[in-house]
């Protein structure tokens, strides 16, 4: 059973055909890279997978369940996590509080009105440990709006990973990062266990080819190629798009 199946999915909004007839199937534990020039529809696809955008046609099946019309938070509860192309943190909360929110979501006490936050010691410890494993303990008490861009991107990825998802959608996790930060993020992605299935949008071809099991190429809202690294590297159409676009 494929973990994620996208069947002939399209999105038409305001007269613009953002995606047409895109189909793909991702296997359990696979690292699937989604690449393509700007405007290809990559983030639109992610938005439809996570439920932020409605589907104009087609179906999405996650873990054997049709989630096409399921609201975003239900998909998240099923184990679908995502990060955002435009960093989406909780700006006035501290970095620690940001991570706490991510961890709290799956905790039984998430709707508890009269329990003190401090009683959730296990969550505080887990958040601290998570930040520590990323080397970000130093910024734990800073407001998320005050940290550097690179740190914000990393926290965005942490929030996606914190829920220990079954399927993780990473939207350009390395965008705008310094070389050292890219290495750290790639290392963290690498270290994710194989029971997490990962879809990742990337512009950095080196990173993409380094991490990919299979690659899907989108262009102007259509799927134009799919295959393993060699197949894509040697695909004439793909080369033309990328070389031509330079």
């Amino acid at each position: 059973m494929s973990t994620l199946v996208v069947e002939a999915v399209s999105r038409n909004f305001g007269g613009v055909q953002a995606l047409s007839d895109v189909s793909l199937a991702v296997e359990p534990g696979e690292r699937r890279l989604i690449i393509g020039p700007n405007g290809a529809g990559k983030t639109t696809l992610f938005n439809m997978l996570s439920g932020a955008f409605a589907v104009s046609g087609g179906r999405i099946i996650l873990l054997d369940r049709d989630i096409t019309h399921l609201p975003p938070y239900e998909r998240a509860k099923m184990g679908l996590a995502r990060t955002f192309q435009i960093t989406n943190l909780f700006p006035h909360l501290t970095v620690l509080e940001n991570v706490l929110l991510a961890l709290q979501a799956m905790d039984d006490t998430a709707f508890s009105l009269l329990r003190s936050m401090r009683a959730n010691d296990h969550l505080f410890r887990a958040a601290g440990a998570l930040l520590d494993s990323w080397g970000l303990t130093a910024i734990a008490d800073q407001a998320a709006k005050d940290i550097s861009y690179g740190e914000k991107r990393q926290v965005d990825v942490i929030l996606g990973m914190a829920m220990q998802p079954k399927v993780l959608l990473l939207d350009e996790p390395t965008a705008g990062l310094s070389a050292a930060e890219v290495v750290r993020v790639v290392g963290m992605i690498r270290s994710l266990p194989r029971d997490v299935t990962i879809l990742m949008i990337e512009h950095d071809m080196d990173v993409a080819f380094e991490l990919a099991d299979r690659i899907t190429v989108l262009h102007q809202g259509r799927l134009i190629a799919e295959g393993d690294r060699d197949a894509i590297r040697n695909n004439p159409q793909v080369n033309e798009i990328y070389l031509g676009a330079e």
């Binding site: 996570s50 439920g51 932020a52 609201p71 975003p72 938070y73 998240a76 509860k77 996590a81 995502r82 955002f84 989406n88 943190l89 909780f90 700006p91 006035h92 909360l93 501290t94 509080e97 706490l100 929110l101 991510a102 709290q104 979501a105 799956m106 905790d107 006490t109 998430a110 709707f111 508890s112 009105l113 009269l114 329990r115 003190s116 936050m117 401090r118 959730n120 407001a143 929030l159 829920m163």
Partner: protein, 318 residues
């Protein structure tokens, strides 16, 4: 970081506040004691609104609806049916909660400016009923002669001092509950919703449910304040649910600093004091109120606590 002040500071302030509040009846004249009671009641009202606007980020223009409907309910029950306070007060609060639930179901169908308009429209409809249904509500004249609560204690709440302690106690309990709520995982989630709804959804939170419960809680505590207010004044009128009342509580919250619970309470105290002072000098209260809105909107949208925080940040160079 927004949220209640650090615990130690809060505890210290609480001790001082409690001591002063217990001593006040022996320090003030009945007139000023009554004013302090009004301040405390509006502090509760403002804190209830802070839960909605400061913590969850839902700006509403009709919060007076729950304040007023509870006042009318309790007033009517105490006056017409002669219910005693043990029934009339909870009944008033319950009616406020139910109204908030119904209005919340409607208003939460929308967001942003629609939400603002709908909350205003709903509360004004309530005003229209209060104004128009003379046989029930007394219309424009309101309901006078609502009796003070009779607790069955040796001290009559018709007297200023026992009534003062009664209000302090109830508002104190309400405040402790509110503090508990905002410091809970639920409260933490509300702040997340304020900061980024899309992220909260992506994390798996049923954002609508949180917003709805926050809306109802805010309305419930506003209702509690309303019940106390009708007992204080022994009177209720359509003004309790009018948009001007909603606008006033909005200003109290903004003036004090939204999202701090403590700030809006201070904002309420300040507002009541200013209103009292200014209206003794001029009839142009509404115009001056409008001016304050314009000034706050232009120069201090984060309120006094925001200004203080900015000053502190500038001092420490962060």
């Amino acid at each position: 970081m927004t949220g209640p002040l650090p615990w130690r500071a809060l505890a210290a302030i609480s001790v001082v506040a409690v001591s002063i509040s217990l001593a006040l009846p022996y320090l003030l004249t009945p007139y000023y004691l009554g004013l302090v009671v009004k301040m405390i009641i509006f502090a509760l009202f403002a804190m209830s609104f802070d839960l909605l606007i400061g913590y969850t980020g839902m700006a509403s223009l009709g919060h007076a609806a729950y304040f007023g409907i509870a006042a009318y309910a309790t007033g009517l029950l105490a006056l017409r049916l002669e219910w005693n306070v043990w029934l009339a007060l909870p009944a008033g609060v319950l009616i406020a909660a139910i109204t908030a639930a119904l209005f919340g179901l409607l208003a939460l169908r929308a967001r942003g400016s629609y939400f603002l308009m709908i909350t205003l429209a709903l509360s004004q409809v309530l005003w229209g009923v209060a104004f128009g249904w003379r046989s029930l509500t007394g219309g424009e004249d309101g309901l006078p002669d609502v009796p003070r609560p009779d607790l069955g204690l040796p001290w009559s709440l018709a007297d200023d001092t026992p009534f003062y302690y009664f209000v302090v106690f109830i508002v104190g309990v309400g405040t402790l509950l509110l503090i508990r709520i905002v410091s809970s995982p639920f409260g933490h989630a509300l702040r997340g919703i304020r900061e980024s709804e899309t992220r909260m959804l992506a994390l798996g939170y049923n954002v609508w449910r949180y917003k709805f419960v926050a809306f109802v809680l805010a309305g419930t505590f506003a209702g509690l304040a309303g019940c106390l207010y009708v007992y204080l004044n022994r009177y209720v009128s359509p003004g309790y649910v009018h948009v001007v009342m909603s606008a006033e509580v909005l200003l109290m919250v903004v003036l004090g600093g939204a999202g701090t619970l403590f700030g809006p309470a201070i904002g309420a105290v300040l507002f009541v004091w200013l209103e009292n002072m200014i209206s003794s000098y001029t009839e142009r209260w509404l115009m001056l109120l409008g001016l304050v809105y314009v000034l706050v909107g232009m120069f201090a949208p984060n309120g006094l606590t925001g200004l203080v925080r900015d000053l502190l940040n500038r001092r420490t160079g962060s």
